[in-house]
Structures are given as C-alpha cells and as structure tokens.
C-alpha cells in the first residue's frame, strides 16, 4: 500500500459544532402519539440527536501522487506513461495488469475534451462548488484516460459531450486535487502561477459526516431519568442491573422493555481511580491534578467510569470509599452527550459533585463486582 493511514475519529453533538454548545440545552422531549414503533407501541418521548463524526486522515503520497499534487500546486497537470498510453490522473499500477509503473511523468493539458458529464443542480457541502456545476470526465490533451473532476459552467445547456474545457487553478493552492477545476475553453483566462516551495509529500483529507437519529426508547428513558436526577438502569439475567441498559439482555439474548427499568440509588462505592496530571498543550484548560474515578452505584452490576472528582483532596481519596451523587439544579442538567453509542456511555452533565457519605469504607475483598 502506498498510504500510511492515520486517523483518530472525533465525535461531537452537532449542536456543539454550530457553536451553540455551552448554552444549549437539549430540546425538551417531544410527546407525539403518532410516533408508533413497528410493534405498535406508542413512543411517549423522543430525544432527537444529531452528531458529526470526523476522521482527519493524513496520508503520505509516494512517488507518483506526490509529484502529481506538487505539480497541481504549481499550476501544471501530470500524467504517467503506461506502455504507449498516458494515464491521468496518474496511477502507481497499470490498471489492466497490476504491474508497477516507473514514475515516468509527463505534462498533459491544460486543455482537454469532456468525454462524459452530469449536471449537479443542488450541490452538497462536500462538492467543489456551492452553485450548480458539472461533474465531468475530462480527457486532457496528451492523456488517454479521463480525470473525473468539476466543470464550472453557466448552466446545463453549456455542457455537452465532446466540448473543450481548460484547467483553471485556484488562488489558494494546497497541493490537493481541489487546486484545479475546469471551465469551458471560451471562459478560460490566462493565469500566471508562481511555483510553491518543496515537494508535496502529505495529503490531508477530512472525512466529516453528519448523522440524525433519535435516542432509542430505553436510552430516552435513561436520559429523562438523568434530567430528573435519577439513575435508571435495566435488570438483566443473573439479577444484575446494567446502567445504562442496552434495551436488550446480551447474555440471555432477549429484548427488554420499560418493565425492566430499575431506579438505582444515588450512592455508590469507588472501585478504582487515577490521578490526571495536566500536561501543557494547545487548548488545555486544566492546570491542577485531579481525580477520575470508577464508581459502582449500590445495586448496579456495572460501574460508571471517568467521574471527575475535584472536591476531595487527592490524598484523602481511596478505593472502597462511599460517595453520593449530588445532582445539579434541574435547570442546569444537560444530557447533550447521551447518545446511542454503545461503547462510551455517558451520564451527561447532571452531577454537580460526588460527596463522601461518611459511611465506613467497603473492604477491598468485599467490593461489588462490575461487569
């Protein structure tokens, strides 16, 4: 493989991205008796959730795509020799035989012929133009294959198979395929492009996808519970209580219903903790060491992880310690980050602090078991 792929997914509620995050309170549940599930059960409340998932990819470019994108940045288009043909965009391999090609790059274009086109009347935010444009397969002069790219034309009537187009380079070029676009040859203007510095060796590609969903019914009841200052779990096999519930019992392989919901205590025991010592980095807001604890609520079969503790001195904190959740005032409770993701359950932003109950510690060999 050519690429060294490297991406960490980032995920946040869509509301945050719109810049309304800190002030935003999740809209109140919508009661709508017309919302029927497939089983005909009336869903009493619906929490709409919308989130954006981003994968910022950084890729190395290699001996063919690197020079190709370097040339684009510098206002030239390169193809690669493949037998007696020239491929543009260039490839590292002969598309017919799979054989590795020598990086024998030749300049093609800047004009070419539209072999094929389609008119995009309603562009998406991912498209190179936000006004109607054409995707076209352009065979650049000197090339034998087509480049699929965008043509900026006044309207669909200006497009036809066989028409001549010419490359135009954007003012701001980054060494990416979007540095160029095409226009009908008559609309083209001459450009003088100053070459950039160095070789383009890395490309970045931000994958950004927005999803609209609603909280599953059991998750909605759990979220509503948090807003009401309660921890709602679900009873599963072995008389254990999962928090949050999954809507089904994974061990017994059966569906759960609202009848399986259980309100848990607001008191619990520390199962483990770690001390986070902030290191300085761009955007870091923490300055002092603080605690992150795993707490199991009384009666629960599953612990709550990553609970911030800032009100108890580090040297007084211990495994087995008894704590009580003190909820924020109702108006300040938020469940924006409670979603349908099964891997990272959240308790939202509803707990003001975890306060010692003053009870004696639970002995280490008597700590409750967590799934």
């Amino acid at each position: 493989m050519l690429a060294a792929k490297h991406a960490y997914p980032r995920r946040w509620p869509e509301s945050t991205k719109r810049g309304t995050g800190p002030d935003k309170i999740l809209p109140p549940p919508v009661a709508d008796s017309s919302l029927l599930s497939q089983q005909g059960v009336v869903i009493m409340a619906e929490f709409p959730i919308s989130f954006t998932l981003e994968y910022p990819y950084t890729r190395t470019l290699g001996p063919v795509i690197g020079p190709f994108l370097t040339a684009l940045r510098d206002g030239r288009i390169l193809g690669i020799r493949c037998g007696d043909r020239v491929l543009c965009p260039p490839m590292e391999f002969d598309p017919d035989t799979g054989e590795t090609l020598r990086p024998d790059l030749v300049e093609v274009g800047p004009s070419g012929t539209v072999e094929n086109w389609t008119w995009v009347a309603e562009p998406s935010r991912k498209h190179p133009f936000q006004e109607p444009f054409a995707f076209a397969q352009v065979k650049l002069d000197g090339a034998d294959t087509t480049m699929t790219h965008a043509v900026k034309a006044v309207g669909q009537a200006a497009m036809s198979t066989g028409m001549r187009v010419r490359a135009q380079f954007r003012e701001e070029r980054t060494g990416s395929i979007g540095d160029v676009y095409f226009v009908p040859e008559d609309d083209a203007r001459d450009q003088s492009i100053a070459p950039g510095e160095g070789e383009v060796e890395i490309s970045t590609h931000l994958i950004s996808l927005t999803y609209d969903d609603t909280l599953y019914p059991h998750a909605a009841r759990y979220a509503q519970g948090l807003l009401d200052g309660k921890f709602i779990g679900q009873r599963i096999s072995g008389d254990k209580i999962a928090i949050p519930g999954k809507g089904y019992d994974a061990l017994a392989r059966v569906m759960l219903t609202e009848a399986d919901d259980v309100e848990l205590a607001t008191t619990g025991t520390v199962l483990s903790y770690t001390v986070l010592t902030p290191v300085k980095y761009r955007g870091q807001t923490e300055t002092e060491p603080y605690l992150s604890a795993t707490i199991i609520l009384d009666g629960a079969g599953q612990s709550l992880t990553q609970q911030d503790i800032r009100n108890i001195p580090l040297d007084e904190f211990r495994v087995g310690m008894r704590l009580r959740a003190i909820f924020k005032p109702a108006a300040e409770r938020r469940v924006d980050d409670v979603d349908n993701d099964w891997m990272y359950p959240s308790i939202g932003d509803v707990v003001e602090r975890w306060e010692p109950t003053g009870e004696p510690d639970v002995a280490l060999d008597e700590l409750p078991e967590s799934m």
Binding site: A3, P9, S37, Q38, V41, I43, L53, Y57, R59, L61, I65, F68, L87, C88, P89, M91, P95, D96, N116, W117, T118, W119, V120, A121, S124, K126, H127, P128, F135, Q137, T145, T146, M147, T148, H149, A150, Q156, T161, S176, I177, G178, S203, H205, I207, L209, T210, Y211, D212, T214, Y216, P217, K246, Y248, A250, R253, M255, N340, D341, W342, M343
Partner: protein, 351 residues
C-alpha cells in the same frame, strides 16, 4: 470442492427509516427466524460472519455490538467484512470449503437513513484524486448513465421501463419498500435529479437487516427439506479509477459470471444488484442473460437498497424463488463501489 447450500434466509421488511429499534433489536428476530428455519441448532452453527460498515451506524465497532444479536456467550467463532453481506457469505463459503466448519450464519444490517448515504459512498473512491471532490453515488451513476446514452447503448425510456417493472414486481414482495404502478411517460416527464438520472432511476434510502444460513451437503440434507445449492460463487474487481474504465461495460461482472459458471446451464431467474436503472442493462449484457430469464422478481435494489444488505438480499431472494418452485437455476449478483466497480456472482440451483 464441497457441495454447499443455502438452507435458510430471513430479513426485516426494508423500510425508509427504522428509529425505534437499534441494530441488535433489528437483527435478533431475523437471526431467530433464519436459525429456526435452518433446522440447525444455533449453538451447532460453526461460524458466523457479518457484513456492515461503521460509517452507516456512525459509531465505531458497531459490528461488535451486532454480535450481541447472535449470542456470543459462550464464545463463538466469528468474523466481519466491511462489505456487503454477500461477501460475508463468500467468506463463510470459503471457510466451509476449507473444511474448518460445516455450517455458517451470515448476516448484514444497516440504517442508511441516519447519515448522508450518497456522500458516505464517496469514501469508496480514490482518496487522493477523487474523494476530496465529493463525487457522491448519484453523480457517479449519472456519469455512467450518460456514457451509455451518448453511445446509444440504452435510452432514458429503457431506463424508465426498468424502474417501472421493478416497482411493479415489488408489489408481490411484502418486504419491499418502494412499489406501485407507475407510468413510463409520466415519470419521463419528471425533472432530472442529477442529469440524466431522474428520481425513479435511483434507489430509495433503506434501513434493514438480512441473514442466511449455509451448510455443507451432509448437514444441509439432514437439516433442510429444500437446500438451494451454491454451484459457483466468485467475485472480481475493476480499476478504482473510473477514468481508466469503460463505464458502459462491467468486465468484472462478466469475469465473475464466467468463473461461477453462469453459462453452464439454463438460467430461470436472475436477482441483479443494480441500484440504478441503467445498471441492470449493463449487468444483463455482461452476464449474457437472455430475455427468457426473469430479472429481479423481488423488485431488486430499485425497490429497496439497504446499503451492504441489498447484495445478500439478492442471494436470499433468488434462493426463495427456487424454494417456492418458481425456477430451478438462478443467478444472484451483488455489487460494491462506484459504477459497479466490484461484483460477485453466485449460481444457485435446486435439487
């Protein structure tokens, strides 16, 4: 080669939007049904393989969560492909051919309705020279349609006729999503969505899940009254650079069909995974299907197109037709990638 058969198939109804149930809740009844119909005890099924993508669910390791629907305690032997369930079935078939197991459960699932499906599909394209331009699935298919129109290989009317026939046939499929009687002239009078494609040339956005159980001959014969034999299953790939392909042809479908033995006997039925109307015409030509072959009695992908499930559904629908006695030999096809880039062909036969 071991004789392997599809012993059962089940699916959810394919719908525009599934909101009340999560993926596991969608799958659990389907898995129950397919296992019960197979006549093989769930715990005795040797291998499980699923096809899905995290990009649909919008959450990482969504396929791990889906294993909850199968029951993974005590532990099971399990695998996953980030591909259509048809390729999960292929992996399971290879596993049985290797003699490692005698039976396998295959499933796929997804809720396309949550995300920006057409844009999500751009992630299948070249990440250096194409994906950053956002070439969505509909625009890519539109380029392919135009290439054939320009060369007189098909007409907009012929494309509309495919759509009308598919949605009429879907009337007899209770699990299909988009069905009804449409008039060719009326839909040709509609505006272009992305020219030269009109809305009717494109598949609906669909949510759903499907599952199949396959087994080697001895197990299949014992468990099942009407095993549907997999006589051949092959997949092939065309270049990922659309400009290096003739988009009006599908050489990978042709090669997969030849390797799977499509032409070694008379075919009664073909379930073709053609999400866009003109693609059925390309596939029919690539596979050399005569007019006597009944195409997509289920309504095909134009009637319901759950991403990464629609291909497995073709195999399931073809095997259902054989079990129902509507034909003896059928071809099922699955596709992936822009403009029919990757194709799988499966030849099915009743006793």
């Amino acid at each position: 080669m071991r004789d392997v058969a599809v012993v059962s198939y089940a699916q959810t109804p394919f719908v525009r939007s599934e909101r009340a149930r999560n993926e596991v809740e969608m799958l659990m009844p389907v898995i129950d049904e397919v296992v019960e119909k197979s006549g093989i005890e769930r715990r005795k099924i040797g291998f499980t393989c699923s096809g899905s993508t995290d990009y649909l669910a919008g959450q990482s390791f969504s396929f791990v969560m889906a294993v909850d629907a199968v029951g993974a305690w005590p532990p099971i032997c399990e695998s996953h492909v980030e591909m259509d369930g048809a390729w999960a079935l292929y992996e399971a078939w290879v596993k049985i051919q290797c003699g490692e197991v005698d039976s396998a459960l295959v499933f796929s699932f997804g809720r396309s309705s949550m995300g920006e499906t057409a844009e999500t599909m751009t992630l299948q394209t070249d990440p250096y020279t194409l994906a950053p331009l956002g070439p969505d699935a509909i625009s890519m298919a539109a380029l392919q349609a135009r290439a054939g129109l320009d060369r007189g290989l098909w007409s907009e009317r012929e494309m509309a006729e495919v759509a009308v026939r598919s949605r009429r046939d879907a009337l007899r499929n209770p699990e299909a999503q988009l069905k009804g009687e449409f008039d060719v002239d009326e839909i040709l009078a509609e505006p272009y969505l992305v020219s030269p494609l009109r809305k009717h040339d494109c598949p609906p956005v669909s949510d759903g899940a499907a599952a199949a159980v396959i087994a080697a001959a001895d197990v299949a014969r014992q468990a099942c009254e009407k095993p549907v034999w997999i006589r051949g299953i092959e997949h092939r790939l065309d270049s990922h650079q659309p400009g290096s392909r003739d988009l009006t042809l599908s050489p990978s479908t042709k090669a997969a069909g030849e390797a799977a033995g499509a032409s070694s006997g008379r075919l009664d039925i073909a379930e073709l995974h053609a999400p866009f109307s003109h693609q059925e015409i390309i596939l029919k030509q690539a596979l050399g299907l005569s007019d006597s072959v009944k195409i997509n009695p289920s309504g095909g992908a134009l009637a319901a197109n759950p991403i990464l499930t629609a291909g497995l559904a073709r195999i399931g629908e073809a095997s259902r037709q054989i079990v129902a006695g509507n034909g003896r030999r059928a071809l099922a096809h699955a596709t992936s990638g822009p403009c029919l880039q990757q194709n799988l062909v499966c030849i099915l036969e009743g006793d």
